[in-house]
Symmetry: C4
């Protein structure tokens, strides 16, 4: 059986999604990428989490073709495939969920502004919102084009410093060095989505412009750098 | 004892309602319909979920008369009866709850607009809100007329493509091919009720018209069809 | 030991408050009244729920004096005492909590309007909000005057048909035929507080006047009567 | 091993943070101060709660230098150190979290107004919001200056009567006589943050000025004094 250890990691990552309250039913998926083999492991489509095992996960290549597995892979597989194909030198795990607060921002078609350090610790600025797909993009190759729109939206951005985004009218996608880190970033996105929603309500209740609440650039610099810069001092070495 | 297997399904469906956070106390009920016999199984009225058993469920006919059972059926039984009588060729399960977010939309008297794919995967457009019952309808045969108002509100609509609705000043009703699917759609309605409420708050905080957030028709078409159309490719075959 | 059976009931009622998410720490209390003896059983003050036992509950008379028990009774004891003294022919249990959504209405100084059937099933109309206590009332006999302000606010109202209220800048009080029913009504108040808050947000997002969302009087009549009138048909006989 | 008993207390306090829903992952820390030795015990940085033990906590002096422990202390250690150094005669425990509702107020840059008794029981008035740090303060000694800005913000205030604050664009800090009381105040802040947010929404839905909802000064006096004044009568003696 291919990628035995990675199967365990992807299994754990998928199981963590309902544990963190990010998915109900089967509304989410996690995958991980084996750079050397050019293959990734992903959740099968529509299988409930209590029936998931490391063994029934599906292995796909970068065209999204099944290499090992008897079940159909997640319907979002072409999105994962194109992201690994394009960004596979920088990321090793991807997560997609329909977590409620992040979805609300995606549906509103708004990036999550960076109002504080909770977001700044992981996202170097806003959580960007991608443009909506066109009619043609949706009809022709919906899931593949979802990935292409994400890649287009990150042109000129640092995907490691902004490890996730919102797809308009849809929901959040996140990534990381492995599946576990992609899950971590999915949790961050949901938490900051709640906090930013409430920050704006609290500003508005006092007729205070939300723009005044934005975290200043030097705070972003400090927080991101203390976790991720060359002189990082958060956590254990 | 009649409908032994269906009793188990209806028992499970009722027990899933508090598990999904859709009901407190006894504020909800699930039923299932046996098309061949023209009978349905429903929760007894006001019985707490921890005292429910497959055996104390009540079997009724399409006039809502008790055919088997010593307890009174749910006070909403005439609503279930008329829906099965009218739509019984297309649906096999019905659920009614007072889940908080869906009730808020029902109380506001507004349909839940379709802002994204979470809703589009199960509802081909909005979750409609029925008109309020008149004084006469309420006084004469309240629960039966609740069902009639739902049927009236779905004239010209596809009840399979929009498997649920809000009854004004009251709460959500959902249905499906069996009791389990009706529960599933009740969960969907509560989730999208939360998401849509927050989508509008997030739009308003940025003085953005909510109408701009609506999912375009071609996105609805795609999402609904990939799960339900003849070429559906979500889940396992 | 006095009122042994009632101690069990009051113990269960108090333990149900954190179970229903109505209290954190010690921010709530339940009591029950023995009409024949003119005594009530109440939670001791500031004792955490995991240290509560039927035996360490406190028995008080209608002046709020301790008749049995080594611990101090709840600081809200004079409120309970005056309510039983005045309404003891109609009620047998009282609950006070700081449940978050109901407190928000109390703090806003607004009655919870009746927007739907969830509320109408238990409250025949709004959940009223009492006037704030004056400086003198607070300084002289705060807890006793809290009870007096509630009694004043219910002049001309039916305390059985509206089994609870909000005390301004403070929080919810509810009552019932026994301690368990008072807990039930406390849960109802918290649920409808959430629903009404969201109903108004959803109305406002569409620039719809909240007044249009109010449940019509004939719906209130029907729902209240089907549970509580002489021809009640909800639940089991 | 130093401060054995205090290690147990700080361990319990840290473990209580996720239990009360105040932290996800490692986003929080609790410490306690030994006045006689001039040392404090604090959570190690970035260590998940399920790997925490009393033994792997870190002991620091008032300059924030590690006195005992093999792990790095929390990155917020200089904040704790300066607070103990300055206020150590009055406080014995400190907690910092990113609890969602309190963070929203901090991000909005607003103090939590005192709308009712839940807050008045523990905070003698508002929960103050500190000014944002300047670019220089952030770049030079961020965590130390966070503490200094808190101390500056409490000039002329009674830190025992207002046992916590919000740091702008960041989140809540609380303190108390020991670590457990600091946790208690962190829970209070999160609860009142939710209540005050909703109080303002409910006022606004009725076009009622939020200022009218403020608790009057005599209510603050009464509630604070009945728990904390010389004639306190809440709880057991």
């Amino acid at each position: 059986m291919l990628l035995k250890e990675m199967r365990e990691q992807v299994y754990e990552a998928n199981m963590d999604l309902p544990k963190h309250g990010l998915v109900v039913f089967t509304w989410g998926n996690a995958s991980a990428f084996d750079r050397d083999r050019g293959l990734f492991v992903i959740k099968p489509s529509g299988v409930s989490y209590d029936k998931l095992t490391p063994e029934n996960l599906v292995v796909c290549d970068l065209e999204g073709k099944v290499v090992e597995g008897t079940l159909r892979p997640s319907s979002d597989t072409p999105t994962h495939a194109i992201l690994y194909k394009t960004w596979g030198d920088k990321i090793g795990g991807i997560v997609h969920t329909h977590s409620a607060a992040a979805v609300a921002w995606a549906q509103a078609g708004r990036a999550i502004p960076c109002y504080g350090t909770t977001q700044a610790d992981y996202f170097y600025g806003e959580v960007p919102c991608m443009r909506g797909l066109t009619k043609e993009e949706i009809e022709q190759a919906y899931e593949l084009n979802t990935g292409k729109v994400i890649i287009e939206g990150f042109k000129g951005k640092d995907i490691v410093a902004q490890p996730g985004c919102l797809v308009r009218n849809h929901g959040p996608f996140s990534w990381g060095s492995d599946a576990a880190e992609a899950v971590y970033h999915a949790v961050v996105m949901e938490e900051v989505a709640k906090m930013a929603r409430d920050t704006e309500l609290i500003c508005r209740s006092a007729d205070k412009p939300c723009a005044e609440a934005l975290a200043p650039q030097y705070l972003l610099d400090k927080h991101y750098m203390r976790k991720h810069g060359p002189n990082a001092y958060y956590g254990q070495k």
